[in-house]
Amino acid sequence: RIYPLMRVTLTTSDGASVTVSRQLTKHSGFIEKAITDMAVDDNAVPLSAVAVDVDDATLKLVIEWLTEHRDDALPYPEKTDEERRADDIPAWDQAFVQKWDTKEDQQQTLYAVITAADKLDIKGLLDMTCKTLANKINGKTVEEMREILQLECDFTEEELAEIRKENAWCEN
């Protein structure tokens, strides 16, 4: 049972502190485990402190997302392979990402939020951000993917020719 009045203070990797309701942190497997490990008395409505390996700016985004999704059902529903799709991101989430995922940002914030969601074990946020990144790549050419992901081609000419030969025949 979760006591929503319980407050949790999160200490970020850059030394900031943010206090949030337990109603929000219940979506984070990492924070819930940390609180459970502390064996605090929920009935006493204490203030617990948890250190998280996430910077302050990213944590604020995570908390914004958690606030919107505070009433989401738990546990996060598991998706089968057939159910796994990238085009079902809720409208609020799309607008939320668009606020900070700008061209100038070059996905740096998106990567930071994905990593934070992974570290904090927030399945809903991780799923949504991974879908967002997948949607950026879906349908793109190799060159476009390299540009989006800022990756350089490190194949030798021979390897590239081999890949092209195989793909030209059997793929796409």
Partner: protein, 195 residues
């Protein structure tokens, strides 16, 4: 009955890293079941976990490689089939990950696979469901030479025939590997063998 990605992730990641390290820069000769979405299969074969040995030359601002492996796998698992295959052409690391045998990929539907053999040639034909889509053809001879063709519409494969030694009856290994490759990427409604 395929396992869920999340539940098998830790074990599969260890296997993935070990297998990729073992493969290094070799190109795979087959893929797992092949399209819209992907997951890593729960393969119970034991692999010794080793550090990732492949070196990659990354862009100066490359940050996707800083993502934890399970996040990267989650991103890839949401790609459609064509994008997934394209991703494998981006660089060495992506190629290794996308080529991993553990991915289970929905296969592309095709109408039929036809295996032809007579005294002079051995040919594989892949016929699409829609006539306007590509046909695939592979033929090989016993000297280890092979020929692949991708075309639309009808095609007289005999025009590009190899002359093969009639005294050698052995079917080259590449022929079987190609059948395996086609079957891993395409879901055929019919298989015909013509002699």
């Amino acid at each position: 009955n395929r396992p869920k990605l999340e539940t098998t992730l830790e074990n599969n990641l260890l296997k993935l890293v070990a297998r990729l390290a073992a493969k290094k820069r070799a190109f795979p000769d087959s893929h797992a079941n092949s399209s819209t979405n992907f997951c890593l299969s729960n393969d119970d074969q034991a692999y010794d976990a080793k550090p990732f040995e492949m070196t990659t030359i990354l862009g100066e601002k490359d940050i996707i490689s800083t993502l934890p492996d399970d996040c990267l796998i989650s991103v890839l698992s949401h790609l459609d089939r064509d994008s997934f295959e394209t991703m494998g052409c981006v660089n060495q690391k992506m190629h290794s990950i996308a080529s991993h045998d553990g991915w289970t990929k929905p296969r592309r539907p095709i109408d039929s696979i036809v295996l032809l053999q007579d005294q002079k040639f051995r040919t594989i034909h892949v016929n699409p469901v829609k006539k306007e889509d590509y046909c695939l053809m592979f033929e090989s001879n016993s000297s280890g030479e092979d020929f692949k063709k991708r075309f639309k519409g009808s095609y007289d494969y005999r025009d590009h025939m190899f002359s093969i030694n009639p005294n050698v009856s052995e079917i080259p290994e590449k022929f079987f590997k190609t059948v395996q490759e086609i079957n891993s990427k395409h879901c055929s409604q019919k298989l015909e063998i013509l002699r």
